[in-house]
């Protein structure tokens, strides 16, 4: 990490953590007005996060594309960007941050422990398909995370509604029907971008490894998560899975994406997807 990057990264991580705690406070102590303040805090943290990415770019000459630290940094950026965008367009959806920000905090915390050393862009990453493949991968991850957040909000609001004790923190949220449809809408967007990501990855793999599909662990996991979300869409459209069942499904399905991005390379040392591993 460069010094500037380190400063802004850690400040943004602290602010995200505070915001996550603030949302928790607003639910526990039934104070919905606190949520808009936390959204502002997330906005500030996002700007600092962007500066950290810019500092890394300036130090190593390319955007953070590879390795667990850079994946966490950019992935977190896309998730927060999607959260802020959705919250800006519809204020009642600002509370999605209650679920997305903790995910980002954990991701970035994990990422910073995984060797944030500055590395030049390795030869294997110098291909225009990189930008398409990775960009759509982050869009998919962001959308799936929003779907998970909508699922969490759905379950929380439903429980509060059924509990009989009013909690003003949930009144700002969209109705349960809308949350149900939003879950599906985010899954659909994620599935579209996931499909493009896999296709672009296969075309890039042909140039890089000579074969469009090698059953590499990361490739296989990304196919598994694509199948899981395809199954989710089938269950919704054909079998009418909605509400709590769909909410639990989209929450659990996100784990497959997290494993694709981070879990596989944690466990497997021989994946073709290990780029930019620096020589000590």
């Amino acid at each position: 990490m460069s010094n500037l990057e380190s400063i802004f990264f850690w400040i943004s991580l602290v602010l995200y953590s505070l915001a996550a705690g603030g949302f928790l406070y607003s639910f526990v102590f039934k104070n919905p007005r606190f949520q808009s303040k936390m959204t502002l805090l997330i906005g500030v943290a996002f700007i600092l996060h962007t500066v950290a990415i810019g500092a890394r770019y300036a130090a190593q000459g390319h955007l953070p594309w590879s390795g667990d630290y850079e994946s966490a940094m950019m992935g977190g950026w896309f998730i927060i960007a999607a959260t802020l965008w959705v919250g800006w367009r519809n204020k009642s959806l600002q509370a999605l941050a209650a679920a997305t920000v903790p995910v980002v905090v954990i991701m970035m915390g994990y990422g910073v422990m995984r060797n944030p050393v500055l590395t030049p862009m390795s030869a294997s990453l110098k291909n225009y398909w990189l930008y398409i493949h990775v960009y759509f991968a982050w869009l998919a991850f962001g959308a799936y995370t929003l779907a998970m957040a909508a699922g969490v909000l759905y379950l929380m609001k439903k429980k509060a509604t059924q509990g009989g004790v009013a909690n003003a923190a949930y009144e700002k949220y969209p109705s349960l029907d809308r949350l149900d449809e939003l879950m599906f809408r985010y899954v659909v967007f994620g599935f579209i971008t996931d499909t493009i990501m896999i296709g672009a990855g296969a075309i890039w793999a042909k140039d890089l490894w000579g074969s469009y599909w090698s059953w590499d662990p990361v490739e296989t996991w990304s196919l598994v998560s694509w199948l899981i979300y395809g199954l989710t869409i089938h269950l919704r459209v054909t079998f009418g899975w909605r509400e709590s069942r769909l909410a639990w499904l989209v929450i659990a399905a996100l784990s497959s994406v997290i494993i694709s991005f981070f879990g596989v390379t944690f466990v497997v040392s021989s994946s073709l997807h290990m780029f930019n591993v620096p020589v000590r």
Binding site: S122, N127, I192, H234
Partner: protein, 453 residues
Amino acid sequence: MIDSVIKYIKSLRFTLLIISLLGVMFLLGLWIPQERMVSPEMLAKWQLSSPQVVAALQWLGFLNIYTSPIMLGLWGFFFLNLSLVMWQRLPLLKKRIAISESRIADPATASGYSFRASFPLPADLDAATLVSRLRRNRYAVLGDGSGFFAVKNRLSPIAFALFHLSFFLVLVGGLTSVYTKFVGVLEVAEGETFQGEVERYVPTPSLAKVGPPPRVAFTVQSVVPQSVNGTATGLKVKLQDARGEQTADVNRPYHDDHTTFVVDNVGPAPLFVVTDPQGKELDGAFMKLHVMGGAADVFSLAGYHFRAHFYPDYALGKNGKPETRSREFKNPRFVIAVEHQGKPVTTGTLAAGDSLAFDNYKLVLRQMPLWVRFSVIKEQGLSIIYAGFAVASIAVIWRFLFYRRELMGVVREEEGERRLVVAGRSEFYKTLAEDEFRELIEKIINAGGRKEQ
């Protein structure tokens, strides 16, 4: 019994079952060590420690799970189910995309419509204008103010068929690629020519079931590795073929005759010569040595064995031992240990042009060109596979972003007021569509600056 089995195979429940089983098999392939990913030594060790488990997995084909009979069977059922479901669905699809005036009904009572509303109409807004504004919002409209049926993205259900048919494109392309696939590894040194000889591939290549090996011919003119701070940033290879000068690099393979030459690795290909004390050459050859990353390689000349270590950026370490400062070829040198009949003779360091004296002979390093390793893959059907990906992407965007909406309406007098009574429904979304319909109708009514009262 057979009828109920066929009925089940045609069902969507079977689709879900097959997709789930395929997912489970993919996951098993990540957990069970695969033969192509583990070394023979590791596999042998595992066989020794768990012979029954390995035997069982081998019998099931799970050590090559992605091409195992069970996996191929599941794929077979997947495409069978897909074909049967598509066969059932296509007539329904035709029916769905067709529209006729029989769809016009009373919006107040028509069944299956989740959105119903009534909007007051301004006195100067006639029904014909209303209908034309609907058309301008990309609705296909049948009927008029006394009753209309409007649909947006009428053809969207076709995308469902396209998406699923794209799987067949990928299947056809994939099968073509499997049957025409040639895989080999080729090492060519600077200045060396390759004319497509199968025996040049080392190890023995995997030949295609259909079609000849690659018919290519080229000469490698130069190999230039690039590295910054220990990270390989490029491996430029210049080639000369019948078309002229070509350049290949990591991520930019050389292509010819449906064949891809992927630049894979590099190493030194020194010209070592053994001379007698008078300088007469006794033996010599270009050696493609596999000595990168600290590995040692052995070659023989004039009855002697030479064990070579290579240092791309040679320096003496603090302990006086040779080391390389980086992966860049800044100061390339060999450390050669000479052996004769199992006994060490001498050791020395050689750069290009240097010599090492041993037992009245000299080992001379005349030149130090580099060799490049290509992973060579020839396969056909890729354009069909890519077409499948493109169709799948376009179809999924079309289906889910441009989904079908239906509106029916009538202009009628209610309680002395002209009102537009509508009923609407949308694929996939109910509450979100209600907002959209409301906004649309208000926009159509208020277009031209008229405000709703």
